[in-house]
Amino acid sequence: RNLLELLKRTTIHGESNSVLIIGPRGSGKTALLNHALKDLKEMKQVQENLLEVHLNGKTNCQFFMKKNLFLPGLLQTNDKVALKEITRQLQLENVVGDKVFGSFAENLAFLLEALKKGDRASSCPVLFVLDEFDLFVHHKNQTLLYNLFDVSQSAQTPVTVVGLTCRQDILELLEKRVKSRFSHRQIYLLNSFDFRQYLKIFKEQLSLPDKFPDESFAQRWNNNIQSLAEDKAVQDVLRNLFHHTKDLRSLHLLLV
């Protein structure tokens, strides 16, 4: 909800932001982000419709373009690769057939120039999603992070940097000048539910949705699930797992 608000502001007002989503593994960081993006896109749909009405007179309706960059840290071993990836995803002009040419230095200069050129009002906002943020921290000099945050702190192209990480001490890993540029917005995701909620999630996972074609079958299935959830042995197993970990992903694994 918070994140959604933030992203909305970036896209609509052209404000630059940076945010970190911190939470242990399996606490739904990526799910949250995806959800927020989906909501955002739905809203954009509305906007687009509005836009079409306004721009009908013109020859070509330009739609609000929005690019999402997913940069999983595990794939980007160093800044160099990450940078190329950004350029590729931004589909800038020096990209030919999904390949980026030029040296690292050139690319960096190029990208910075590209981001510098835009101003608040005219260029379309860019959302950078840095998955496994902690791995970017280990890059030499944290050049990439510095530059991204710097862009988000200056009157250039509106940029939102979203970092996803599971490390609680991520801020201490940032260099102080990088840290100063980060807006210190953090969203903590924690699995703060008790066993009853856990059981409810378990039931929701298993039961069939209402839209299932065969209604009578769905009815029967859901009833069975209900009785299964009330079974003592099942509850014991689940409780045991719950005590070990609150990770929802392990629950999924167990159910599969």
Binding site: H13, M65, N94, R120, S122, N141, Y146, R185, Y188, H244
Partner: protein, 861 residues
Amino acid sequence: MNIQQQRKITYSWYGKPTSSDRKLRTLQYKGILIAPERSRKETCVQIGDFVLVEGENADEPFVAQLLDLYEDGAQQKHAVVQWFTRIAEIPRNKHKLLKREISPKEVFLDQVSGYDTDIAVESIIKSAMVVPLHLGEEIPLELNREQTFYVKQSWDGKCFKVLSQDTFSKLKEANKKGCGIPNSSNSFIASDIVSPLKKEMKSVVQSTTKPRNGEMEVESKHSASKSSLSKERLSQRVANGIKTPTARKKLILNSPATSKDRLLGCEVLELLDDDCDAVAPSEPSATKRKVKFTGILGSPPKIPCTNAKSKLACSAVEHWECLADSRRLSPYTKVRDFSEQERDPHKEDNFKCVTGHQELDTQSLILTPRSRRACAQQTITRIAEHISILNTLELNKEEDFLSSSDSSYSSSSEEEENGDVLCTPRNKNKSSRTLSTPLSSRKSSVHTPAKTPKKTVRFYPLPGTPKTPRNATPEIPRRSHAAQKPGSVLEEARLRLHVSAIPESLPCREEEFQDIYNFVESKLIDGTGGCMYISGVPGTGKTATVHEVVRSLQQAAENDELPAFQSVEINGMKLTDPHQAYVQILELLTGQKVTAAHAAVLLAKLFTTPGPKRKTTVLIVDELDLLWTRKQNVMYNLFDWPTQKHSKLIILAVANTMDLPERIMMNRVASRLGLTRMSFQPYTYKQLQQIISSRLNGTKAFEEDAIQLVSRKVAALSGDARRCLDICRRATEICEFASQKRTPEIVRMAHVTEAIDEMFSSPYIKAIRNASLHEQIFLKAILAEFRRAGIEEATIQQVYRQHLVLCRVEGLQSPTVSEIMAVCSRLGACRILLVESSSKYLQVRVRLNISQDDVTYALKD
């Protein structure tokens, strides 16, 4: 590359000293010989000549006129010059003052006072030509000589002025002189080149399958070779004129006597022309000519060509009237006339040569249709050129007929007309070429650049390799609709509080601002170099202040209160490698793109050689500590340049740490950095308060107490203004969110407190509280183990034993070892535990990443 060339040039005085000054012990000379060691060619430059002076950019030397040459007591050769400014050197924002297109060949008489006019002779590269033109005149297009420039207006740093009458005539005179001497020297040079040229020509004639480029070369060299072959001075001048019509134009204009000569020559030409006409059918050359014209007829370009001719005829009827009646024929025959006339000077020069030339032409015509087309195009362009020449001739003649006065204005207007006429066939030619097949168009694009470099687009398709757009313009796609304007007071406030919003002034940094300003200003006025080291913790406004200083200095420079300067900024963080700093500086200074090593050499040269005409450079080096290398040569060089005598470089180095010079720099680097230092203290809460209120600037969005709370809190922690602004921004968001139902919209204490809590709260305790049961038990076990052993480290095995005990106490099922390992690794991933990364299984040591008290507090309930 350039340096090596430079080294091999020797400079020696030409003639005896004309005058000397006993007191100053200076000897004045009237010329200097420039002799590159490699070639025998010697150029003599005299006072009044135009020269190219080595500049910061190797491709674009400065243009200047020599006013004086002397040798001082220390045997140093000096020169006093009048500068000319290239369009590239004029600030971009002034370009619109001109209200017209500027060709790169155009220069402006420099009347800016800031530049040093006394230069070392060694920086002169070679002589050049500067042709004065009147404001309305077109720059002659047909010439592509490197060293020819045109001057129309003067530039005094603020506005452009038309050249005054006397400067104009002075320049002309100088130009005349300049023409005279190179001409004589040309003859030496030409005679050297003659023989190879001849051979080349022959070989080209012999070989039937000659490459088009070679053809072109021969084409262009013809005039030169002709000039060399001819013995007569007049004819030589004609040839020269063909090569450089403007120069010749000048010649004619300037010296009526020679123009009369020329006229005589022209009359002779006409006679010859008539003769030729009569003889033409019988001569083989004439048939060839016909062949050529059929060629033109056959090729598409013909139509526009004739069109152009007819147009020309229309526009210049009165000129034709002045000429012989025979000229008034159909356009087509006129074309022939032109071609004949075009050949006439050649004939006069040397018959053999011309025939050879024509043979060559025709041979190329007889070749494949492909080359014929190319040739036809060539001839068209050539014809166009010759038409222009003829026109000028006619104009001159007319002028002579009318008054023979040298009124430059009338001539200029006519010349302009001439230029127009000349332009049209050009354009026609071009359009025709684009109309023709792609093959020929490509060919023409290869051919014509020499003649019309500005208009034709060169493209060299690289076979095989995908085209890499080297100079792609980096740009983020535009957004389709404008960003929404802030609606409420809170949104407005948030916008103002964003770090990127540039405040009108920098509160609380007035003192530092003044210090830096004074430093740079004094250096600028003295024209010396220097550096200053600025330090301070992040978010104290270092970079902002420095930028502000540069901005206000630029303002002052524009108002003529200070000498003009150039400012360059590099950021250590934005460089991928310290050595890239050189590349970036050079690119920002001159626009060249070279490798790091080469850039270092060029920069060193730039800053250490006595730069004759260079603005002072203000270099801002942000995040200096990242330029650190093992040998520290980047830093050393950076700080060494300002100490050089001629560098005119002012460095403002910005970094976080106050004692950086002592800590990481070697002594020699630190000593060069100097003692001019300044440290930015962290903001106090009062200052922060002032900053926020100045940013808000009257918008009622914050309670006074709330601002104070924020600034006190931040000042106590870091004094980072960025953090302060971020908290305020967050507070407005919270406020906005809370006040969605209710009306009052003002950020209160509660909101601010919430924002602060959100930003400064420690995540660990919350994380532990929300951990699963076994994770919590595991932490308890660790604590127990630590207490038992007395050291803050334990292996998993020991912790596991404790864990089992605790489980039994709690009445839980005891977990297996692998489950414990999973728990341990999960805690490790969150960095609540520090886990040794090795494959020792149960012997892996763990320790807590947070204090034991925190853990006990978190686990209390």
